[in-house]
């Protein structure tokens, strides 16, 4: 192989290895093996089908990302609407700066009994953590290979375990701040046991020229419910790679929403494996891009058992010379009868230089199923703009109204009332502040 960037990650691994958590146990061997696989495969390039529209290798070559150092001095949140989007909501807050947990900035107190909240290093000796880290979703191997990089270099992250029947009393907000330049490899482990319930917000912000590599491993027990709302508004020089891997036991319910506004290059991967009957997964998102931003939404839903429901809707607005990607696959295994699987993607191009690549796929091996998929790419209707203007609404306001209405159809799926309103405001603001006219 001739992948200098992969090699530089390998060198970083050699330097960092002694300081990474879990150096003395099973994880040390797992890290070595993961690094070896990663170096052999190299960073994904565009000849790999699942990476056809996003050149991660080139994006990472541009800025040689050395591991981010611990931030020194006071931490200042960027003065942006995204940074304070969830501020008005009563919630627990856990803060990571440059990929490191900061107890001094976090506030998660008086957690209900049965809610175990730790940082990653604290749970690595526990079997459940090991199970989650070692798990693989073999139906999207090309996209999952990159998780090896995270496994080798992961430094910190959230470890949340909620015991049987326990409900997290208020949303848990994970705030990831890139205060400085550099790469941070974050691993979150979330285990909701039988009938447990939680709502998690994630926001990724920062001014640093960073590589944010986040893997979140989720396991939902029977009848467990997880609502997950993610907001990404990092700096233009940042490369964001997020992988969400969820395993759903019988009658469990996952509702995940991602709003992507920031970053030069971002890829959001979601893998859902239905492992028990009667489970339900909603994987939805919206994105608004400008200038030369590139955002890739990649999603694989594996209906491995009968009677599960999945719903995916991604809507995006593309201005300037930005590029959007949606790749989605719904797999229905031979015995997975009574599957209900839906996958839709719609994009709105606001400029002639913007581009969208959409590839929704269905692989159905069962016959008694309801599945649908679809994709549209369009532009704002001139007739609609004229109509609104003929009623006295100025052109910029008319365009904003139509763009917000378009995104709102996806944002309606944000699985938390106050968060939904917060994200709708952000999306409307994206256009109103003129950035949408780049």
């Amino acid at each position: 192989m001739n992948d200098k960037t992969a090699q530089s990650f390998a060198e970083a691994y050699d330097r960092e290895r002694p300081a990474l958590p879990g150096a003395d146990g099973w994880l040390a061997r797992r890290r070595d093996a993961a690094l070896k696989s990663f170096v052999e495969a190299g960073l994904p390039h565009r000849r790999i089908e699942e990476w056809k529209y996003t050149d991660l290798r080139q994006a990472l070559e541009k800025a040689a990302f050395a591991p981010a150092r611990a931030h020194e001095g006071a931490v200042v949140l960027p003065d942006t609407a995204a940074a304070s989007a969830f501020a008005a909501i009563d919630r627990h807050v856990v803060v990571f700066v440059n990929g490191r947990y900061r107890a001094d900035l976090s506030k998660a107190v008086r957690l209900p009994k049965g809610v175990e909240l730790h940082s990653l290093a604290d749970v690595l000796h526990e079997q459940w953590a090991k199970d989650l880290v070692e798990r693989r979703f073999d139906d999207a191997r090309q996209s999952e290979d990159i998780v090896d990089l995270n496994t080798a270099l992961m430094r910190d992250g959230l470890a949340l375990r909620i015991r049987k029947g326990v409900r997290l009393d208020k949303p848990l907000h994970l705030l990831f701040l890139a205060a400085d330049d550099g790469a941070s490899h974050t691993r979150n482990l979330i285990l909701l046991e039988e009938c447990a319930e939680a709502t998690i917000f994630e926001s990724h912000i920062g001014a640093g020229v960073a590589f944010a590599d986040i893997v979140t491993d989720i396991a939902l027990g029977d009848d467990a419910r997880l609502a997950h709302v993610k907001l990404q508004d990092e700096a233009a020089g940042t490369v964001h790679l997020a992988t969400l891997r969820s395993r759903l036991a019988a009658k469990s319910h996952l509702s995940s929403f991602t709003l992507t506004l920031g970053c030069g290059v971002s890829r959001t991967q979601s893998f859902v494996l239905f492992a028990g009957e009667g489970a339900e997964a909603h994987v939805n998102g919206a994105y608004a891009l400008k200038a030369t931003q590139h955002a890739d939404q990649f999603c694989v839903i594996d209906h491995a058992v009968p009677g599960c429901t999945s719903h995916t809707l991604f809507k995006g607005v593309l201005d300037g010379a930005s590029e959007g990607v949606f790749q989605g696959k719904v797999i229905v295994r031979p015995h997975a009868q009574k599957t209900d699987g839906r996958q839709m993607t719609h994009a709105l191009l606001l400029s002639r230089d913007a581009a969208m690549n959409a590839k929704p796929e269905l692989e159905i091996y069962a016959d008694d199923v309801q599945c649908a998929h679809g994709s549209t790419v369009g532009e704002l209707s001139r007739d609609a703009i004229f109509f609104l203007r003929s009623r006295g609404i100025p052109e910029a306001e008319a365009r904003q109204l139509l763009v917000s209405a378009f995104l709102d159809e996806a944002l309606d799926f944000v699985p938390h009332d106050a968060a939904r309103e917060a994200l709708k405001l952000l999306a409307a603001g994206w256009f109103a502040d003129g950035e949408g006219r780049a």
């Binding site: 004229f386 109509f387 003929s390 009623r391 006295g392 306001e397 139509l402």
Partner: protein, 249 residues
Amino acid sequence: MLEIKNLHVSVHGKEILKGIDLNIRAGEVHAIMGPNGSGKSTLSYVLSGREGYEVTEGSIRFKGRDLTELNVDERAATGIFLAFQYPIEIPGVTTMTFLKTALNAQRKARGEEELDAVRFLKLVREKAKPLNVPDEMLKRALNVGFSGGEKKRAEILQMALLEPALAVLDETDSGLDIDALKTVAEGVNALRSPERAMLVITHYQRLLDYIVPDAVHVLSGGRIVRSGGKELAHELEKSGYAAYDADAA
């Protein structure tokens, strides 16, 4: 209120209107009738300021101002309202939100205070009731899934709320059954006032039984070929447009 002199309008380089003269005073209702392709809709679009409709000669003055200097939304704020033949569907924008945005945008453009939610709601309900527009309809996305009658009632509601000085009704009767037509006509008639002018564009005389005009003009081949009183509409109903088509050719 509206003075059109020797108006020539081209669309994609093709001349559609070839010298229109028309004067409408406050309080008057004028009807424009004519065969398909005579330029009726072009006249309505050029008054509203739609892109692609180029005034090549002549003038349009509205309340003493040169209308061509104003863009679409400025014209609306000045008091021009176009009721569409085919109202546009606006997915994701509720009728209520749309109405509030439009009214407040116009008030803002005129330097008036914007209405808050409470005052707006009171006003919109007051205007909606006589038009038989229920709250449920106001909560739906504008025109999306509306029947033909609902779309036209929504148009008249917009007119009632925005209180224009000049209302241009483009084939408002199309797609309506007789009951819906009556409801819409009643709505329009209720808005007739000494301060307001109306230009009713229609192919058929039927609408003019309900909205009785002060003057009728026949448009053919891009020119007004005949003007008269309301009885002209009945005459046309009997004789058809054939005679005028021949003139235009």
